[in-house]
């Protein structure tokens, strides 16, 4: 098949561009192990709240001292509706849904995953200090826009003090840390 010179050049340039793009994906994926949440774990969607993993929601540290956030989505709330995590510290989020498909999005960060009934989504990321909006970004019913939560990211020392001052390991530490402490109850 005869291909004109300029077509050859163009196809070559396009292939080179796409290889460059692929290379950047490979560097990000293999070189730095950067991936979107791709954690394959399942759960019985009808028994989420009695499942050991999600029976209590909120922020907990494991035996190795790593920070985990356990969150359940249901129409039209995230449980818990406010979270406090330490800044510049890896936080591992675990999420599932008890009803329909939701989208967990910590706005303007890379905290983002679909939340599907029957599956546990998991991702780990770090945050700079500040307050972040958590929205539901997948339509989940007529009250979808009301499904929001708030993430408080505080200095690590302050966060540790607040957690150790309490006995329960599953504290959100919220009452000690936020002016809207009264919301900690739900």
């Amino acid at each position: 098949m005869k291909i004109h010179l300029y077509e050859r050049v163009w196809i070559g340039a396009s292939v080179a561009m796409l290889m460059l793009f692929f290379g950047s994906i490979a560097v990000g994926a293999v070189g730095s192990n950067r991936h979107p949440p791709s954690h394959i774990e399942t759960i019985d969607p009808t028994g989420v709240l009695s499942d050991a993993r999600f029976a209590t929601q909120g922020v907990r540290t494991d035996d190795a001292g790593r920070v985990h956030a356990w969150i359940v989505g249901l129409t039209f709330v995230w449980l818990p509706a406010e979270l406090v995590v330490p800044a510049d510290t890896p936080v591992t989020f675990h999420l599932t849904s008890v009803d329909v498909t939701h989208g967990f999005s910590i706005v303007r960060t890379n905290g983002q995953t679909m939340v599907l009934p029957g599956y546990v989504s998991q991702f780990t990321t770090t945050f700079a200090e500040g307050e972040y909006l958590i929205a539901c970004n997948e339509y989940c019913g007529l009250g979808h826009h009301d499904m929001a939560a708030k993430l408080h990211v505080v200095p690590p020392e302050q966060w540790r003090q607040a957690t150790t001052s309490r006995e329960a390991p599953d504290t959100t530490g919220l009452a000690a840390l936020t002016p809207e402490g009264s919301h900690a109850g739900h």
């Binding site: 163009w10 999005s105 009934p117 599956y119 826009h145």
Partner: protein
């Protein structure tokens, strides 16, 4: 079947089969009705997301969002594609329509299915939006409507292949099918793949809605996007086929390399179903290897096909113009192009906005890692309105300006408006898609009634820039919707109350007849001389026979690379690379 059912088209010399013509007309008319419903929905939606106006209540916002999606993306586009399939398998190759009664039966099925879906949505029995992700539940009649519509479309697609086989046997055309029909073949094959995915997911979902079986939420998303994304590739293949057709009709575009163009269509068929995985990049049910393989390697093979068309279509137009004698400088061929022919201006805007906005954003946001800051923000509808509206719908509108005289044998009504309609529509969509993309980069979610979170127990706000951007989205959306209404008015008036075409006198401009028909683009008498000159080595700074196109695609490639890596840079702010 005798040839008595054929008429010969006065302007193109093509033989038009009566029963095929009627089916083309019926499908095109219903398509325009769906466009009207969808465009009314669009106005209501942009006026709601513009927070200062916030027109609709929450339930009606979501309801109309579903109606807009189904009416535009399914009913408008697929009815039009049915017309394209009938057209490409009969008129283009002088062939007859086989089994016209079956055509009418499937048309009936599709109309009944579409009406069922519309009724369920408007009456609030299917507030599940376009994607209807299980376990959101709609009335079983909604799913049944979708299934009936899909069965009808599947039968029409099968009839398309039957037409081609019969035409071959009856020796209606010589050699291989023309490129336009080949593009339609690609669209039809992808349509079969798409509709099979549709059956595989909507039939179980219908049974689930009746309580007869379970459907897993992740499996639903996987198979549904085999339908939802592949159907967009039907649009792309049909759109590219129309690009080649409009190029030939308006500026005598040549196909520089038939085989390469055909190969590019084959790439669409082979690779696009896998590429639909980019919708699932932040889903929990698949691993990273699956995600990367599907969305880079497989998707890029389909992207390569679009890159090839993105070069050969403008290069073919440039060569066509140069062979007509517009040879000076880099861009005389563009300056002297028939800009007041709505078929031509639609073609140019479709190519440019599809490529520069739709294509570039699509490849970028479909990248495994970059997607995490893009998924389900307004950047997503910003992208796909640039492909499916500015690209496909614009091309379909451009084609309609030629179908009205060629098939309906009417003059295009409101001719003055018709000449500016593509400009209004394209500019509106450009403003709309770009401002939506910018708003999305602030993290604003799509499909969201109230981004002020007025019901939330805490205060949180998006950047104030978002309010301004959503106002601009509304402005662009209203402009484009006005363009769509003008198009509907032109189509309806032309088809039902239009002035008969009459005899076309070549070389005499006629009101309501595109220039490609009154002044068919013929190559100049010294075409061989011009062609030899174009192919002389070393002319035009060594940029070859189509130097203007080389410059334009160079700019495109540069913009592509810059946009892609700017997004990596933005991602690096939240994800330290390395």
């Amino acid at each position: 079947m005798t040839d008595s059912n054929f008429r010969t088209c006065g302007s193109t010399g093509l033989k038009v089969h009566g029963p095929a013509e009627l089916l083309i007309k019926a499908n095109a008319v219903v398509s325009v009705v769906a466009l009207l419903i969808g465009a009314i929905g669009a106005v209501l939606l942009v006026l709601t997301r513009w927070q200062a106006v916030h027109l609709l209540s929450a339930p009606w916002y979501y309801r109309i969002l579903g109606v807009h999606g189904m009416s535009m993306l399914i009913f408008f586009i697929i009815f039009f594609e049915m017309a394209v399939l009938y057209f490409a398998s009969t008129v283009v190759i002088n062939a007859r329509q086989v089994m016209p009664k079956l055509g009418w039966a499937s048309f009936g099925l599709m109309v009944v299915g579409a009406v069922m879906v519309e009724v369920m949505m408007w009456t609030g029995k299917a507030d599940v939006l376009f994607t209807s992700y299980v376990p959101l539940r709609a009335d079983p009649l909604f799913y049944l409507g979708v299934i009936l519509f899909a069965v009808g479309a599947l039968i029409v697609t099968s009839m398309f292949f039957a037409n081609l086989v019969v035409a071959k046997r009856e020796k209606r055309y010589e050699g291989s099918v023309p490129l336009v029909t080949f593009g339609a073949v690609a669209a039809a094959i992808i349509a079969i793949i798409t509709l099979l995915h549709g059956a595989a997911i909507y039939i179980p979902t219908f049974l689930w809605s009746l309580g007869l079986m379970e459907v897993d939420a992740q499996i639903y998303r996987l198979i549904w996007w085999g339908l939802g994304h592949s159907s967009q590739q039907i649009n792309v293949a049909a759109m590219v086929a129309i690009w080649y057709m409009l190029g030939a009709l308006t500026v005598g575009a040549v196909v520089i390399n038939e085989k390469i163009s055909r190969l590019a269509f084959v790439l669409y068929i082979l690779f696009i179903s896998m590429a639909s995985a980019h919708h699932l990049l932040v889903d929990p049910g698949m691993g990273p290897t699956w995600k990367i393989v599907n969305t880079s390697y497989f998707m890029y093979m389909a992207v390569l096909a679009s890159m090839i068309h993105g070069f050969t279509v403008p290069a073919g137009m440039e060569l066509g113009q140069r062979l007509r004698g517009f040879t000076s400088g880099l861009f005389e061929w563009l300056r002297k192009a028939p800009w007041s022919d709505p078929g031509f201006s639609s073609l140019v805007f479709s190519v440019v906005v599809f490529g520069f906005v739709g294509g570039i954003t699509g490849v970028t946001i479909g990248t495994e890692q970059i997607n995490i800051i893009v998924h389900n923000t307004l950047r997503v509808p910003g992208h796909f309105h640039a492909t499916v509206v500015s690209g496909t719908a614009m091309a379909f509108m451009g084609a309609t300006y030629y179908l009205i005289p060629l098939i309906f044998r009417k003059r295009v009504a409101f001719w003055g408006l018709a000449k500016i309609q593509p400009y209004l529509f394209a500019l509106g969509m450009l403003i709309f898609t770009m401002s939506m993309t910018f708003a999305g980069s602030f993290g604003v979610p799509r499909r969201h009634w109230d981004i002020t979170f007025s019901q939330a127990p805490f205060g949180i706000e998006f950047s104030p820039a978002v309010d301004l951007l959503l106002g601009i989205v509304a402005l662009g959306g209203l402009m484009a919707a006005t363009g769509a209404f003008i198009f509907v008015a032109i189509a309806v008036k032309s088809v039902f109350f239009g002035e008969p075409l009459g005899e076309i006198t070549r070389g005499t401009a006629m009101v309501g007849v595109p220039a490609g028909l009154t002044h068919p683009p013929v190559h100049s008498s010294n075409v061989d001389e011009l062609n030899a000159e174009l192919h002389q080595p070393g002319r035009s700074w060594r940029l070859g026979p189509a130097p203007g196109t080389v410059v334009l695609v160079g700019v495109f490639l540069l913009a592509f690379v810059v946009y892609f890596f700017v997004n990596w840079k933005v991602l690096s702010f939240v994800w330290k690379i390395g």
